[in-house]
Symmetry: C2
Subunit: 334 residues, 2 copies
């Protein structure tokens, strides 16, 4: 019998379709490489991107030249632009505003072929510091209400370039999906006087059915109501609403658990396409007791179809307990 | 400058990213065929599906034999099953229920190669009658709260078989996405004392910027805050909350506008992958003044990536006005 499970944060139901159960080996190689003869993100091609906003580079090297190991540039085809003040207007019954925002690309390495799963953990730390630096800088712009850090890996996950990179989008509104998560967490907090994510941490640690990895500061696990096979979340153990408040030791521990998790997924699923998103409190809001920042990692192994679009609820053919068990058996040295 | 547009029903923002503007010809052939040597949906293979629930067939032919033109069967790999009563349980902080529901397949034709865009309009009418017959029958089961009729065309849209078919899923809950639409419509109605969809009809007819086709009973148009390039909705002109209340002449008119719209999309986008969903009021609810049933058609031309997953808001590179203008230029004889 299939099982319906409810996400405790936003109340979204998921069908764990045991009748269609899939094991990791059932997922054929799903990632296709983005074919391109020229890569603007490789070292030596710095003049093929807009001028850099931030780089971590060797002492004595010049901006927009060689010698960097992390480089942040504006997106050449930005979804949003930052030149104007916000103007909200109506068009009959409809509402619109101009597309004010920022859209940046974090080039995570000068090397074309490495990804998060391949970097040594010190390099993953550098990626995380770049995320935080850009997040803090963008937060200073009063027009921005929410900043999303995300990564698309593989064409199936929406990547248009193969060279490993992340993106940061600053938005003039708090998007619907984030509002839902904030409202759901607040409702739980008002009822229980506890953070729903802290409660998840307690139960996941106790049940130990869905945990992939843990260290002093973080835990990585597959959520009870996973939407997708091998969907994995990474949560800080100590309650904290804002990603940008991460401390030095936190970056070290996050780097280690992120690298371990990504490497296990890479081995288990033969380098699958995936998305990673940082979920955090909107940038103009103060610390809260009810929201808990975290990472969500979503391998793209199944297609989202009419059922999901029509209902906003998901059919997942792989119980998270099975996927977690499989990931735990994979030994990695990090 | 890109533009942010707000969906008037559920308040979802969309970025119309004019910087990345795409014309129909920019979308490469995106649909790949599902390769299969054997098709269980073809005439003559009736014994390869579970026994039929409904068929429209020639007088004198036997159930589960040849002679049908529409055939409805249970899904061989159902996401939900109907044998048990509903049991809701907790697992620590988490909530779950057994997967009670129904999952059926509407085989729209005995011919392997035809699709909605190819059928003559009398055959499209037959498909619509089958939708309604199954909807009504499933509504009699008191355990079901919502019935979704949908269609996946092409592997990229989630189809696992090429032979044209639709699916019907009956659910023991009202899913989140549907609740949002109902709540959004109700909020608008409470404020304006008018149906938000009726207001859309009025404005779309007046503006005439996004309309694709219209007839006595229906209008097809691209919504102001389209999530996807060429996303198209079909709405009945006269307010009606329940799909199942469609009348004989309504079926005839819906058949004509659906065939025309699908044929225009097929020609414009070279037989794209797509999803169609019927959005209607939950089956246990009485007629309402605030909700208006409709069809949503979503060609799959862009990839949903980390940004969309992290925020629930969409980047659409093709303004709906441009897409509608293009679709209007395509002449079809229906």
């Amino acid at each position: 019998m299939p099982e319906l499970r409810k996400d405790p944060v936003i109340g979204r139901w998921v069908i764990i379709a045991t009748e269609r159960a899939k094991r990791p080996s059932d997922f054929a190689k799903t990632r296709t490489e983005v074919k391109a003869s020229f890569c603007p993100f490789c070292e030596g091609n710095e003049d093929k991107t807009p001028p850099e906003i931030l780089s971590y580079r060797k002492v004595g090297t010049e901006p927009n030249g060689k010698g960097w190991w992390i480089r942040v540039v504006p997106n050449k085809f930005p979804a949003l632009r930052s030149e104007e003040p916000i103007v909200r207007t109506g068009e009959g019954m409809y509402d619109k505003m101009n597309g004010v925002g920022a859209h940046e690309v974090v080039i995570e390495s000068p090397n074309h072929n490495l990804t998060l799963a391949d970097f040594d953990i010190h390099h993953v730390e550098e990626v995380l510091w770049a995320y935080r630096d850009r997040f803090l800088d963008l937060s200073n712009d009063e027009r921005f209400r929410y900043i999303l850090i995300f990564k698309n890996h593989g064409a199936e996950a929406g990547a248009t370039l193969d060279h490993t990179h992340s993106q940061i989008i600053a938005l003039p509104i708090v998007p619907k999906r984030v509002k839902e998560e904030l409202e759901g967490s607040l409702a739980y907090y008002e009822y229980k006087e506890r953070c729903v994510f802290c409660d998840m941490l307690t139960q996941e640690t106790k049940d130990n059915l869905r945990v992939v990895d843990e260290n002093a500061s973080f835990i990585s696990f597959l959520p009870f109501a996973s939407r997708f096979p091998f969907e994995t979340w990474i949560l800080p153990r100590v309650h904290e609403s804002h990603f940008a408040n991460i401390q030095k030791n936190g970056v070290v521990d996050l780097s280690r658990i992120l690298k371990t998790t990504m490497l296990k997924l890479k081995i288990a699923l033969d380098d699958p396409p995936y998305n990673i998103m940082v979920h955090t409190t909107p940038c103009r809001e103060t610390k809260s007791m009810y929201y808990h920042w975290h990472l969500e990692i979503m391998p793209k192994l199944t297609k989202v179809a009419g059922f999901e679009w029509g209902t906003g609820f998901y059919i997942n053919p792989t119980p998270p307990e099975d996927a977690a068990k499989f990931l735990r058996t994979i030994e990695v040295n990090v």
